[in-house]
């Protein structure tokens, strides 16, 4: 189970952005399962 300091804890409120848009990409050879998580990317 993941345990760490929550992101953003204690930080000032960020400036409001007028546009937020992002996209990430990787090899699409993922697990590709349906109703079961095989933890090849383990929750830490």
């Amino acid at each position: 189970m993941s345990k760490c300091k929550p992101k953003g804890a204690g930080k000032a409120k960020p400036v409001k952005k007028s546009v937020i848009a992002s996209r990430k990409s990787c090899s699409a050879t993922g697990t590709g399962l349906s109703h079961y998580i095989l933890t090849d990317r383990k929750a830490k």
Partner: protein, 478 residues
């Protein structure tokens, strides 16, 4: 022949200068329920942006934002095309027995199979795994390790042959097992843990009264207590998860379930809404609205617990929705994409070797595509029953074809659509439930909270292909 809407709109003599006309990008505005932001989504490419409500007209004009997206639109369309049509199977749901020691009210395997079906012999199971190994060696790139998930019915009723298969093929496959946990004793946990086998167990509610209403043995006795004992045995193991099936019976307990799982230090859970493929499961179907309300409340509680403790409980199916938005190719589950993963990213094998596109279809004889012992896997994947599933395309389903979020939802599930609603070109059992999840996901992103719902390091191995975080709509994108 092109298969996506984006590819098909390439012939008009238009420079694509304007949004939503000619060859210009299609960006549909969506009210995601956020006070400050609307979403703009290109349905074909799954490109999204969040735009301040008072800057929407700027974003939709021919400025830096639109210019930046125009440069990327074709690449994003290719990415979605690959994800939707270019993958090969890498996983198998393997049922070593038809039998189950439980008689859960929503099970998609027919009761007759579960009560009196067949077990696979050791020899047959080993032969089946060898055939699957041979198939994957022919089709997967060198170094890729396919996955076998022993599933059910209850796979631990065939414990000896399952364990023999794991030991015989542990260098060839990554193994997982989905079990009702009633037979998951100390020896089984030790065996599976020593071999790094992922373990999924099923539990529907924190309290006995609710959990036992849907998950019970053939005499009607609930198994909540036995599952809790198994959870104690699994505490500290890195690769286990809990599947909670959301029904009308437990929807109000989802928030309590999150608290319970978090307190028990469960690393990951799935909170899957019940599949309504077979009639008995429709008896416990929640309505979309109340299911969405309960699910989002549970997610919000998981966030609060993270803030309070610094420890995450990942709700895997929702994490997958976030991934579908943030990094489409990084998604792990393939129910919320169209075509779904059934028959193209994974398939299911029964004790007799019969092959189905997904476990949901076991029991629906017309969807049997062939037999692992008699047919080549490649031929089965091209069979008519498999093509019925892999050919189900959200781009032609009504109303999904007009829906801006169709590639974040995928209009699950083909088995439901076919059995409950009469045809593959229909929606499944739920719609608004998915709408609300995706709107919530966008609100999280707008507030910068999405990381709390994803496992640490989720973006390892990814690269950023688009980023605009303008504090002014007129500022050039990075």
């Amino acid at each position: 022949m092109s298969r996506t809407g984006t590819e098909s709109r390439r012939s008009a003599p238009s420079r694509g200068r304007f949004i939503n006309s000619g060859e210009g990008p299609t960006l549909q505005p969506i009210d995601v329920g956020h006070a400050d932001y609307l979403a703009l989504v290109d349905p074909d490419t799954a490109f999204w942006s969040l735009v301040a409500r008072d800057r929407l007209s700027d974003a939709m004009s021919d400025g830096p934002f639109l210019q930046a997206y125009r440069k990327k639109a074709a690449a994003f369309a290719r990415e979605m095309n690959l994800l939707r049509f270019g993958l090969k199977p890498s996983a198998v749901y393997f049922n070593p027995t038809e039998r189950c020691n439980l008689n859960c009210s929503y099970c998609y395997i027919p009761e007759g199979m579960r009560s009196g079906g067949e077990h696979m012999s050791r020899e047959r199971l080993l032969e089946a795994l060898q055939r699957l190994k041979d198939y994957f060696q022919r089709t997967l790139p060198a170094g890729a390790v396919p996955q076998i998930i022993f599933h059910g019915a209850e796979p631990l009723l065939a414990r000896e042959v399952v364990f023999a298969g794991i030991d015989a093929f542990r260098r060839d496959f990554r193994f997982g097992i989905q079990t009702n946990a009633t037979l998951l004793d100390d020896a089984a946990v030790k065996f599976l843990g020593e071999r790094d086998v992922s373990i999924g167990i099923s539990l529907d509610a924190p309290r006995r009264e609710a959990a036992d209403r849907t998950r019970k043995d053939w005499s009607g006795q609930g198994v909540h207590g036995k599952v809790l004992e198994a959870m104690d045995r699994l505490r500290g193991y890195h690769a286990w998860s809990v599947i909670c099936t959301m029904t009308r019976e437990n929807a109000r307990q989802l928030t309590g379930m999150v608290e319970f799982l978090h307190q028990r230090e469960v690393p990951t859970c799935l909170m899957n809404i019940v599949r309504c493929t077979l009639p008995p499961s429709r008896e416990v179907k929640p309505d979309d609205r109340s299911a969405a309300r309960a699910f989002l409340a549970a997610l919000e509680r998981s966030y609060e617990l993270y803030r309070e403790t610094g420890r995450k409980l990942i709700v895997g199916n929702f994490a997958n929705v976030l991934l579908a938005i943030l990094a489409p190719t990084a998604r792990r589950l393939m129910c919320d994409i169209s075509p779904c993963g059934g028959g193209r990213c994974f398939f299911a094998v029964t004790p007799s070797g019969d092959m189905f596109p997904c476990s949901e279809f076991i029991g629906l004889e017309s969807f049997r595509g062939g037999n692992l012992f008699r047919d080549e896997v490649e031929q089965v994947l091209e069979s008519r029953p498999f093509q019925l599933v892999t050919g189900r395309n959200v781009d032609v389903i009504d109303p999904c074809r007009r829906c801006a979020i169709r590639h974040f939802c995928g209009s699950p599930c083909p088995a439901e659509a076919h059995e409950m609603n009469g045809a593959m070109d229909r929606t499944g059992a739920f719609c608004e439930f998915y709408e609300e999840q995706i709107r919530y996901a966008f609100r999280l992103i707008a507030d910068g909270r999405e990381g709390a719902f994803l496992w640490d390091g989720w973006d390892r191995g990814t690269k950023t292909t688009f980023e605009v975080t303008a504090t002014s709509a007129r500022r050039a994108p990075r």
